[in-house]
């Protein structure tokens, strides 16, 4: 079974700062996907960024980037130039590749607060 660990229950930074959210996972799989999801106070879960384990290049989406260290089983999210709208719960998640319908395994989440 896979596990996902987010060791930071809450983080708070000033607007425009850069913040990094940590995530580690445990799996015996070699091919898998990793995700960061954002859940704003309105509660809809939104995909932030996605990484395929077989790709060495770190995924980037505008101000969001990841540091994927496969050997260390680490998948941190960096948010640059943070904005007030980035305030949300952030969940790291894992999915096996291909077959199976058991969805995502989520971490417990990190509550990120961007201060004005």
């Amino acid at each position: 079974a896979q596990t996902v660990t987010q060791s930071q229950p809450e983080m708070s930074v000033q607007e425009a700062e850069t913040v990094t959210l940590s995530c580690t996972y445990d799996t015996s799989e070699n091919n898998y996907y990793l995700f960061w999801y954002k859940q704003p106070p309105s509660r809809q879960m939104i995909l932030v960024i996605r990484q395929e384990a077989y790709k060495q290049q770190n995924a980037t989406e505008n101000r969001f980037s990841v540091n994927f260290q496969k050997a260390a089983k680490s998948f941190s999210l960096k948010i640059s130039d943070s904005q007030l709208g980035d305030t949300a719960m952030y969940f790291c998640a894992f999915a096996t590749s291909g077959g199976g319908a058991d969805g995502l395994t989520f971490g417990k989440g990190t509550h990120l607060i961007i201060q004005p």
Binding site: Q44, F91, A101, G103, G109
Partner: protein, 113 residues
């Protein structure tokens, strides 16, 4: 934006009532999921479906039931609601083949009094 819809968004019902939470997606996804999430907590998978006429229980035991008669529709039913069922229920779907991104609905907040 993902085309996955949940109704009702918010509901307060009395103990012992039967309730069905609706979920529909227009993306033609084979796989659909129900997650339960208490405020500020992680998500727990309670049901999933591979496709039509397929339903499976997830990691977290739940007294709810689901059905999948049509690809686009995956309702969740509680036959007799209890206060312990108070939670948010998130429906999600993903393509059955390539791509493993899961898309979520806006959630249904259920309060049982």
């Amino acid at each position: 934006e993902a085309d996955i819809y949940q109704t009702p968004r918010y509901l307060v019902i009395g103990t012992g009532k039967k309730i069905t939470l609706e979920c529909s997606q227009t993306m033609g996804h084979d796989k659909m999921y129900w997650y339960q999430q208490d405020p500020g907590m992680e998500l727990h998978l309670i049901h999933y479906s591979y496709g039509v006429n397929s339903t499976e229980k997830g990691d977290l035991s739940s007294e709810s039931t689901v059905s999948r008669i049509r690809t686009e529709h995956f309702p969740l039913t509680l036959e007799s609601a209890r206060p312990s069922h108070t939670s948010q229920y998130l429906c999600a779907s993903r393509p059955g083949s390539s791509g493993n991104t899961i898309y979520f609905g806006e959630g249904s907040w259920l309060t049982v009094v």
